[in-house]
Every structure is written in structure tokens, then in C-alpha cells.
């Protein structure tokens, strides 16, 4: 039993240990580490939508951007409390996903992908045109957040931002872990495998997909709100296609439909991106491309399946040697 619980909670304990170690090991890189944590939340939202529910999307940035602008505007004009801002970001992301999802969830495949991109582009253009409200191409400025829970002030070095982002990512991770093991989460996996089968056993496939898309939108909105609160700036880039595409690459790299895969993929992608771009600002994309190719060819289920694959390889080697 100890072994079972050990294997169940070991990844979570390891993640906390890595977060603490990273905080002390890279005290001058907290802004970058915080960006990783925010991306983890965004990629987790994509994992729910794509990895579990099988909804192919390249427009997750739409909800991320909606959350960022909503939280930023809320902080400027209403209340600068971080937790309230997160809720507003989540609501904005979920509302956009719920509205767009009514039409999007009736489509599949390439049509769906194209429409998700279109939604993000429309949002970007609306934010660009509504210059008086959003700051247009200059971005939304003037966000000044109150201390987190009235206690921890956001500091210049980014300590508070780091732990705040870590706490939010951890809460999102735990909630998603509960959700994907619930009957609702399991039915999403069923729908991903075969919508027709789920229909035959009485699942409201359209509404379940819609609910998953809305929940994913809410989580993406939280990620957007986090970035608005911590960087105190929201730009049109929050709606960019590149952000959605990168999130998808991170998820595929780590492994879809396994939550931890989203975490691993994000950390590795961003770390490789950071290091390769610092060493060779012109050819860093080559490293990313090679890494993605290698994973797709040799570990099609993502880097999360590397340990069991190595274990199998070692076992095979032992058998061959004996």
C-alpha cells in the first residue's frame, strides 16, 4: 500500500521540491520561472480540452487573452485584489469559451481548428480597435495590484509573484486531477475515444464537450489573469496564434491526457527555448524543432512515457544478456 501511495503522490512531491529548489537555485531568474508556471496553467487548460476531451484547438490564447484583459481592467477600474482578479479572469475566459463553444462544439477536425484560430484573431482585433479601453497596440498599462490576501506585496524581484503563480498552478493541478478522475472526466475520455459509443450509452456528447471547453476556457482565463497581475501589462500578444501553437507543442512534447505531461512539456520546452535562444539567438528554433521531431518519432505519447520506456529497454537488455 505504501508503494501504491508513494507512486501516486511522488510526482506531486517532486514538483513541489523542484519548485522550492528552483526558487533558491535561480533567485535572479524568478520572472522566467514565474512565466513557466503561468504557461503550465495555460497548457493544463489545453490538456483538459485537447488531451481529455479530444477537442482540437489552436485558439486557447483567446481565453487566455480574455482573462488577461478582464483581470487587468478589473484591477484598474474596480478592485486590485489578486484573488478577485483571478476569478474575473476565469469568468471572462469561461464566458468566451461558453459563447464560442456553442458554435465550435458542433464542428470537428480542420473546421474546428480553423474556427478556434478565427475566434482568437477576432478577439485580438476587438482589443486592438477598442484602444480607449484596452490601450490597443500599446497594451493595457497601469495595473497595480494589492498584496496577495492582503499580506504579500508584489516585489520587484518577483518572489511574491513566483509563489503566487506556484500556488495557483498547484490549486489548478489538484482541481483538474480530481475532475479528470470524476465520472464527468472519465466520460470526457470516453468521448475522446469514441463520441458515438458515449452517445449510445446515453452521454450528452455535445454538452459534455461544451462543458469541457468552457472549463478549459476558465482555466486559460486564470493563466491570463496571472500574467496581467504579475507583469502588470497586457498586450495584444496574449491573443497570438504563436502562443496557442506553443502551448500545443508543449502539451504534445510532455504527453497529452496525463496532466503531469503538460507540466513536463512546458518546463522542458521553455527551458530549452530559454537556453538555446541565449546561446544562439538565430538558430534556437532548430533545437526546438529537433526535440519535437525526436519525441514524436521515438516517444509518440510524450516525454512522460520516457521513464517506463527506459525501464522496458533496461529489462529487455537484461533479458537479452541473460
Amino acid at each position: 500500500m505504501l508503494r501504491r501511495y508513494g507512486s501516486q503522490y511522488a510526482p506531486a512531491v517532486l514538483m513541489i521540491a523542484v519548485a522550492v529548489a528552483a526558487f533558491f537555485a535561480f533567485p535572479f531568474n524568478l520572472a522566467f520561472l514565474t512565466r513557466i508556471l503561468i504557461m503550465i496553467v495555460l497548457v493544463l487548460s489545453l490538456d483538459l480540452v485537447l488531451g481529455y476531451a479530444g477537442i482540437a484547438t489552436l485558439g486557447q490564447a483567446a481565453m487566455y487573452g480574455a482573462g488577461a484583459y478582464a483581470a487587468g481592467l478589473f484591477a484598474i477600474h474596480v478592485w486590485a485584489d489578486p484573488v478577485a482578479g483571478l476569478l474575473i479572469g476565469a469568468l471572462a475566459g469561461a464566458a468566451l469559451a461558453a459563447l464560442a463553444g456553442l458554435a465550435l462544439m458542433r464542428t470537428h477536425g480542420l473546421t474546428l481548428i480553423m474556427l478556434t484560430i478565427a475566434v482568437a484573431q477576432i478577439c485580438s482585433e476587438i482589443a486592438n480597435r477598442a484602444r480607449d479601453i484596452t490601450g490597443g497596440a500599446d497594451g493595457l498599462r497601469g495595473i497595480r495590484m494589492q498584496p496577495v490576501l492582503g499580506i504579500w506585496e508584489f516585489d520587484f524581484i518577483g518572489r511574491t509573484g513566483y509563489w503566487y503563480a506556484f500556488a495557483v498552478a498547484a490549486v489548478v493541478m489538484v482541481l483538474l486531477a480530481v475532475l479528470v478522475r470524476s465520472p464527468f472526466g472519465l466520460s470526457l475520455r470516453g468521448i475522446h475515444q469514441s463520441p458515438e459509443r458515449m452517445l449510445a450509452i446515453g452521454a450528452p456528447v455535445y454538452w459534455r464537450r461544451h462543458a469541457a471547453y468552457t472549463l478549459g476556457g476558465g482555466i486559460a482565463g486564470i493563466a491570463g489573469a496571472l500574467t496581467a497581475q504579475i507583469t502588470q501589462l497586457v498586450s495584444l500578444e496574449t491573443f497570438s496564434f504563436a502562443l496557442s501553437a506553443e502551448a500545443m507543442i508543449m502539451l504534445i512534447l510532455g504527453g497529452t491526457g496525463r496532466l503531469y505531461g503538460a507540466v513536463i512539456g512546458t518546463v522542458i520546452f521553455m527551458w530549452v527555448h530559454h537556453t538555446a535562444a541565449a546561446n544562439d539567438p538565430f538558430n534556437w528554433l532548430f533545437v526546438i524543432g529537433a526535440m519535437v521531431l525526436a519525441v514524436v518519432f521515438f516517444l509518440p505519447t510524450g516525454l512522460i512515457s520516457l521513464p517506463p520506456a527506459l525501464k522496458r529497454l533496461a529489462k529487455g537488455g537484461r533479458h537479452a544478456g541473460s
Binding site: 470524476s182 475520455r189 470516453g190 459509443r197 446515453g202 450528452p204
Partner: protein
Amino acid sequence: MTDTVLDLVNVTAGYGPTHVLRGIDLHVRAGERLAVIGRNGAGKTTLLGTIMGLTKLHEGSVRLRGQPIDRLAPFRRNALGLGLVPQTRDIFASLSVEENLLAAMRGDASLDEAYALFPRLKERRRNGGRQLSGGEQQMLAIARTLMTRPEIILLDEPLEGLAPVICEQLMSVFEDLAADGSRSVVLVEQHAEAALAFATRAILMANGAVVWEGAAEDLRRNPDLLHRHVGVGVEA
């Protein structure tokens, strides 16, 4: 017929523009055990698909407790008490036995009930769908449908390809399901003998139409009729 729970009136249905069922009239009473017998291609699976809303209804109407359900989506029909165990079993391979059951669970359904009906599933609850034998998959398919609390269970060739000992076990479970009369069981089968031994009433289907309807016992005593429409005889 006031005690019917499911009525099909002059139903013509099929796939796309193709008509598979032609002018079907069928009435299922509360707590009834109905056997639907017919050769491959007679329209048995299409009949169940039409009841569940998975096949396009061209003409006629399907009524549940007197209310038309023609325009309802399959999940709404399921919520009203119709449950289908598909011929293909449709187990989710990447989910464990328990997860397959939980994915369909509704209302006050519990895993314990499913495991009481199929103790074998409890033993295999952590195994993946693709690790199950054919019989275990069929047990899981039936248990999963029961998790949606159906009042009318539509079983589509549940004995197909299974060993005789498993068939006996499953028939015993069908007896249990129908025993208290609270559920109607519609059993579509090519194993005419087993189906007729279970059912109180039977219909014979050929070329998308009902060609005979009556007491199951009468059909058991009429091997010529069975032979003509199913291609097998039944020892009375």
C-alpha cells in the same frame, strides 16, 4: 394497449436515404421479456438503433410511455429510461473496468450493484478494457448500461461469440434483471433457443419487417417457422 411502455407505430427507418426497417409496429409492455429473432441483415440492430435515436427515422413514430420521443437525442432517451447494450460492446480500451462504469454512472447507481451482478468485474476492476476476455467485455457492457438506470434494456446480440458457459451465466443475469418485473428486457439474438427460453413474447424479423409475433413458447414449438426465417430449428 394501456400497459405498453414502448410503442413503435408504422416505423420506417434506415441509414441516410436507405430504408432498412419498413412499417414496423412493435409494443413492449412494462416488465416484459421480448425476444427479437432474425437472420443477419433482418434489421434487428437497426430496430434497436431506431428506438435509441441512433438511426434515422423516416416515417412513423416511437413513443415512450405514450410520449413521442422521435425528436429526442439518444442521451435524452437514455435519461427517460432506455438503455442499449450495443452488439459491438464498445468498451473504452484505455479506461479500466471501474472507470468504464464510472463514465456512465448516473443518479443513485453504485459500483457495488454492478459488482454484485458481475463479481468477475470486481476482481478485474483495475484492469484496462483491452485486457478483458470477450465474456468480461460483455459483462462490462451490460453493467455499464445498468449504471444509467434503464427501465427498458435493449440487448443487441449479447451472446455472440461467447463460450457456452459464459452464455449460461449471462442468461442467468438476464433472468435476474427481469425477475422483479420492474424492467422490460428486449433481447435481440440469433441464438433462438436461448432467447426463446428467456422471453415470454417474441417477434420474428425478416427483410426489415416483422413477419411473426406471438408467445415465445409458440415459436419454440414451431421449428419450421424458425427454420424458414432464421435458418435453424429449435428442439422443443
